[in-house]
């Protein structure tokens, strides 16, 4: 089959599943809904794999235009750009989605919202596919908003719980902030380049870089890139727009795995990589990206050290890893960023699903202080969790090692102003990652059970464990992609890198194959930091010295427990200000002006005017006659005076 047909099958199958399950949410049985959505996602996955096969054979990038819905030339259309980047993303999205669908059969069993859940999952997959396959900004934005919407729906999935709806709202609102930047960027782009079509815009990137933007000393291109990156910060949860992601853990665990770890949050990363021809032209934007990514990678990892909810720890780890991907973007190592996205999708989905397995065994308890000793009772979960954690910390040989090590090295090669800072933060982040991963492992799987649930924990059934094992295998296998991704030119047709910041090309000069990379890995500062921090972690958490150390670092601990005060800051300033504005609008604007002055005021005015005017209606004939006469006299007088 040729490429356009496969692309349409991918979107169509998922779309059909989502629409059927969504419309039939009240009539479909659980089995039917499961069959429909899994069939849809399965077909999409097979089509994606077929596409990937075609591109592995060296197909050229293709655009598939289905429908124009605006005046021609503005790029307002439903069209797909199928190249190596979108195909990689399609495979990741459909594969993770398929595994999560299967996993959810077991995880969501007996939930009253079962069919709704599957409909949302498929809808999410559809939106994500539109996002990655789009060949213009508008369709990208539709997918972008679509994943935001489904994320909101799924975080608030258990809407009867106390915190779920507000967590969903928070995610939605914070994303809205980022989307606002994205919209501004799109508007500026449409104004400056006159089109929203990728190819048209990319062709003009150099002209845009020459053009000076109004109201700032930046070039037009930098302004657009900064706005677009604000959008990416919202979606990929970069500091300071990261606050929604930890709260999003209120949603069901499969959702955390799929949306808030493997796919949706990577949309921002994907977007920047997709727009590399633009970002390459703006060193201002690249520097900002480096800084934001570095801060996120380091500081969010620190918070992970003190979180006590198993999913929250993994969520902070996700934030930290997203920071790494962002830094890689800043260093123009887009391929490394996408590769880390790729490996991270697998090991983070694995970690989340394993965590979900633990949560199921704990009867929906999520506090790691209640766990302990689960390693012996849940061997499959523990083994897969260990594989995921090792990949996360970047142990040589595991997937995370190749991707993260590449990023750190790329940072070292970058000449940008903030690259040394980012390099330092990335190295520090490695140590932190190792510490919180070890802490989590020790709390959950080592030692003695600290609650009755932990003592009676059981391995869940096969729909849960099979995806775990599959993902663990994929996690191990994903690392072998390093050569293709980074040096094999797999993404070459989709990414544009200026030779001035081509860090990956510099790295390629002393690339000596995977084995060499592993050997070389043992000589880098990162590995020494990792080893030291694992050792420290062993003493702190394995031997229990952490409790003795706690008083000494209590101030640091409280800062971390406050999550650097972002939530308090936002609460005090933005939320309260928004409330004040809303109150003012409600009281002064709505109640007083609209209700009081306009609505009731009209009635009051009418009543008063009528009360006054009814005095005129005396009912006496003579008064009416007098009125007529006075009118006549006045009219006569007017005619006379007018002459």
């Amino acid at each position: 089959m040729d490429i356009p047909v496969l692309a349409q099958i991918t979107v169509g199958a998922v779309g059909a599943g989502a629409v059927l399950a969504g419309l039939g949410v009240r009539v479909l049985s659980q089995k039917a809904a499961t069959a429909i959505t899994i069939a849809g996602v399965g077909v999409a996955f097979l089509a994606s794999v077929a596409l990937a096969w075609a591109y592995a054979q060296g197909s050229a990038p293709q655009t598939v235009t289905l429908y124009h819905w605006g005046p021609g030339g503005y790029g307002m259309k439903i069209g797909f750009l199928i190249d190596s980047l979108s195909v990689v993303m399609m495979v990741v999205v459909t594969l993770i989605s398929l595994l999560v669908h299967v996993y959810s059969i077991g995880y969501m069993r007996g939930d009253s919202g079962y069919v709704r859940f599957f409909a949302y999952l498929s809808l999410f997959t559809l939106a994500m596919l539109l996002l990655v396959m789009a060949d213009n900004f508008l369709l990208l934005f539709i997918g972008w908003e679509g994943v935001g919407l489904v994320s909101y729906l799924l975080i608030g999935f258990w809407y009867t719980r106390a915190r779920a709806p507000s967590a969903g709202l928070k995610a939605f609102l914070v994303n809205r902030l980022g989307d606002f930047g994205f919209l501004l960027g799109m508007g500026a782009l449409l104004a400056a380049a006159g089109s929203l079509d990728y190819s048209t815009v990319f062709a003009q990137s150099e002209a845009l870089a020459q053009q000076l933007s109004p109201f700032s000393g930046l070039s037009m291109l930098s302004l657009i890139c900064l706005f677009l990156f604000i959008g990416a910060m919202g979606k990929s949860a970069q500091v300071p727009l990261h606050v929604w992601l930890p709260d999003s853990m209120e949603g069901p665990t499969p959702i955390s795995a799929m949306i808030h770890a493997a796919t949706m949050v990577t949309a921002g990363i994907f977007m920047v990589a997709r727009l590399s021809p633009l970002f390459e032209g703006s060193e201002v934007a690249l520097n900002l990206i480096l800084l934001i990514g570095g801060i996120t990678a380091f500081s969010m990892g620190l918070i992970g050290l003190v979180a006590n909810d198993i999913k929250q720890v993994i969520a902070y780890s996700t934030l930290s890893q997203l920071g790494y991907m962002t830094m890689a973007l800043g260093a123009s190592a887009y391929a490394a960023s996408i590769f880390h996205l790729f490996t991270h999708a697998f090991f983070k989905a694995l970690l989340f699903l394993a965590a979900g397995s633990v949560i199921l065994a704990m009867h929906h308890g999520q506090d790691i202080r209640q766990m302990g000793g689960l390693g012996r009772r849940m061997p499959v979960t523990a083994a897969t969790f260990a594989i995921g954690s090792l990949a996360l910390v970047g142990m040589p040989g595991f997937a995370g090692f190749f991707s993260k090590e590449s990023i750190i090295e790329a940072l070292g090669h970058s000449d940008l102003l903030l690259a040394p800072t980012a390099h330092f933060l990335a190295l520090a982040g490695v140590a932190v990652t190792a510490l919180y991963s070890l802490r989590l492992w020790c709390y959950v799987f080592q030692g003695d059970p600290r609650s009755t649930e932990a003592g009676q924990a059981q391995e869940p059934d096969r729909t849960v464990t099979v995806p775990l094992v599959l993902l663990a295998a994929l996690t191990l296998a994903a690392g072998f992609g390093v050569e293709a991704f980074l040096y094999g030119g797999l993404l070459g047709d989709a990414l544009v890198v200026h030779s001035a910041h081509d860090t990956l090309a510099r790295m390629a000069e002393h690339w000596s194959g995977m084995g060499g990379a592993i050997l070389h890995g043992f000589t880098t500062p990162a590995i020494w930091l990792l080893g030291l921090s694992l050792l420290a972690g062993y003493f702190l958490y394995g031997k229990g010295y952490a409790a003795e150390l706690a008083p000494a670092v209590s101030r640091l601990q409280s800062v971390l427990l406050q999550k650097f005060g972002f939530d308090v800051l936002y609460e005090n300033w933005f939320v309260r200000a928004a409330h004040a504005v809303a109150d003012a609008c409600a009281h002064t604007g709505d109640q007083r002006t609209i209700d009081g002055l306009l609505v009731n005021g009209t009635a009051r005015l009418t009543r008063r005017a009528a009360a006054t005017l009814r005095l005129v209606q005396s009912g006496l004939l003579s008064h009416y006659a007098l009125a007529m006469l006075l009118g006549l006299v006045a009219a006569l007088g007017y005619l006379l005076l007018r002459g």
Partner: protein, 101 residues
Amino acid sequence: MLSLTHFMLLSGALFAIGVAGVFVNRRHALVLLMSLELILLAVNTNFIAASHYLQDLAGQAFALFVLTIAAAEIAIGLAIVVVVFRSRETIDAEDLSEVRG
């Protein structure tokens, strides 16, 4: 030598008497109707005088229509007076104020 002004002054005076009559007799419905008749008579006289001096028959035709409508008005007005009188035993216009707002 008679001029249009003579007749117009006369009908103006008649009109003013009629108007004053409406107010002097504002309570007596029948005298009110009589005052209205005087006003209409003044108007007609004016029409006919103008018709004569301008040698245009339109004025007379209009006077005829005014007479017609005045007759209709009087017929209805008297009928109302009779009905009111039958039901209330009075024709005092000041007592007829049910439509007061």
